[in-house]
Amino acid sequence: MTTQTATQKSLVVKVEGVTKVYGVGETAVHALRGVSLEIEQGEFVAIMGASGSGKSTLMNILGCLDIPTQGDYWIRNLNVAELDEEQLSVVRSQLIGFVFQSFNLIPRTTAANNVELPLAYQGISLHKRRERAREALASVGLADRGGHEPHELSGGQQQRVAIARALVTKPAMLLADEPTGALDTQSTKEILELLHEINRSGATVIVITHEEEVARAARRMIRLRDGYVVEDVKWVA
């Protein structure tokens, strides 16, 4: 991982004046109208907002899945606008861990192989990969489920496999998009507990959600409305 320089302190994310416009002319949709924010190493941030507030767009930009129309985005000390597609895939591979609402595990592929996959794309040897995948699965409490395919696991278990897959590369930040949106109350509690634990061990966690309960689990809340940041509060857990 990139080393921190003194001037950049421990910033993981720096977003400055980012706008995102879909389409052109009269049908253009302004998803983000100028968002600026900084997230430091080790923070647990919830990005909140109703649907249409631009939170999913912000999440896609933070995850390097989409590029801003205007404005700058630095992840660690890398200006994302200057990266080509090849380099973006390296950023996604090394610095970002994704967790999706619909789990997005690869079907017909065992939990262990799903967790291994990001390491495979990093070119890490089979032996090391197996070991790290096993560790990651153990850390989410699924040490004995490595041989199961996604359809053999419950929703909560699938999401934990997805979290293990996101963590296995030891990314700069964990980016979770409505991670509990498809789960029951009990599983939601477990997943939030797990995210807490991950954050306590030093990882930066960013959760996109529209649920107050999920946001309360974090230690900082950024609220978006109509493409603007309207609230940014921190509290001590």
Partner: protein, 408 residues
């Protein structure tokens, strides 16, 4: 940068293929049919060309045939000015001074509609000919049993014959026909020899033949008119062309044809027949090859189709892979290898099937598999995977992760 092991990509590709076995095997089947038909059809083409060549070669490459234009004895009306061939033409060609490259020339008189009997068995030879003893050498027709009749027999017009193996088995079965007396066209004739087996060319059975002294045929069957053709033998294969020129010069003199005038006879050499049959054999092979290539192309389109379906079906999976850091090259090679595996599986099994089928006789032709057609079919099948799989693979690799993830 994207240092994904090749083995990894192969594993992903293999999983993609095995995930939908039925679809994959049908795609493989398309290529299999294409590849095996290329191999079998070109083998049949080559095989038929080879068999025609072999039967022509049996006739002898240094033999020259002189025949009358205008259709021979029974169609004089076709060319009223045309002179028929005569025995004196044949005699003139046996001239060591004017025709030093001609070893021998023998008149051939064909008797039509003759059948032969022995006891209550009968045979209808495709040709009954009268000639001179030199015919046997000129037509490359040695005997396998007994001997052939001599010049003495010609002079005396003796009723002696050499028969082909088909006639021999028709009349005598497995018994020896030597020195037996058979009846042909109401005449009693003695069998003195049996020709070596020559084989069949199309409908022409080279062994359904009776050969007698020309004087005997003239006296008992056809009368003393013109002859059907003259069988000339050159000294060697290399002097055949020179011999043909000499034959033409003598025949022009015999038939009083002025320089530049059109001849009323034709001089044909086996080598020229061989060349033209090579040509037609080649045409046949190419034609069959094209038919087969089309089916290979259809197999290729099948691969494109299935890969496009596969890419569409797995759009979301591609999105996930990209989101967790798969570089473009990894997605591209995964789908390319998948297409290549399909086409190579088809190619390999197609080669096995094609070579297997070519061991059987097809439509009376013994196929001859050429290594080049096997290699070509195999390489083309691999290329098909690359080319026809390339487009869908590139489409998959170029998908934007954000759109691929949203795809339902």
């Amino acid at each position: 940068m994207g240092g994904l092991g090749l083995r990894e990509v192969w594993r992903f590709a293999w999983r993609g293929i095995t995930a939908n076995r039925m679809r994959s095997s049908l795609t493989v089947l398309g290529v299999l049919i294409g590849v095996s038909s290329v191999i079998v059809l070109t083998a049949v083409g080559t095989g038929s060309a080879v068999s025609v060549q072999q039967s022509i070669q049996k006739l002898g490459t240094n033999s020259i045939t002189v025949s009358a234009l205008g259709g021979g004895r029974f169609s004089r009306s076709a060319n009223s000015n045309a002179k028929q061939l005569t025995i004196s033409d044949a005699t003139a060609l046996n001239d060591p001074v004017k025709a030093p490259d001609v070893k021998s020339a023998a008149p051939v008189l064909q008797a039509n509609g003759v059948s032969c009997t022995y006891g209550n068995l009968s045979s209808s030879p495709q040709s009954v000919i009268g000639t001179w003893p030199s015919y046997f050498e000129a037509a490359n027709s040695p005997v396998s049993a007994g001997t052939y009749w001599t010049s003495d027999d010609v002079v005396a017009g003796r009723p002696v014959v050499v028969i082909g193996t088909t006639v021999a088995s028709d009349l005598f079965g497995t018994d020896s026909p030597l020195n037996q007396v058979i009846r042909c066209h109401g005449q009693s004739v003695t069998v003195v020899g049996v020709m070596k087996t020559k084989g069949t060319t199309g409908f022409q059975d080279g062994d359904s033949i009776v050969i007698a002294p020309i004087t005997f045929i003239q006296r008992s069957m056809s009368g003393y008119g013109s002859i059907s053709s003259i069988q000339v033998e050159a000294n060697s294969a290399t002097t055949t062309t020179a011999a043909m020129d000499e034959v033409t010069a003598i025949m022009d003199a015999q038939h009083k044809i002025k320089a530049g005038g059109s001849a009323d006879y034709r001089v044909l050499n086996q080598a020229s027949i061989l060349a033209s049959s090579n040509q037609s054999g080649h045409t046949l092979t190419v034609l069959l090859g094209i038919v087969a290539a089309i089916s290979l192309l259809v197999g290729g389109i099948g691969i494109t189709n299935i890969m496009l379906v596969s890419v569409t079906e797995r759009t979301r999976e591609i999105g996930i892979r990209k989101a967790i850091g798969a570089p473009k090259i990894a997605i591209l090679s995964q789908f390319l290898i998948e297409a290549m595996l399909l086409s190579l599986l088809g190619g390999l099994s197609g080669v096995l099937l094609g070579v297997g089928i070519s061991h059987f006789t097809i439509l009376g032709v013994k196929p001859v598999v050429s290594l080049s057609s096997v290699l070509l079919a195999f390489i083309v099948s691999a290329l098909i995977g690359l080319i026809f799989g390339g487009w869908p693979a590139n489409r998959a690799a170029s998908l934007r992760p954000i759109e691929a993830l949203r795809y339902e």
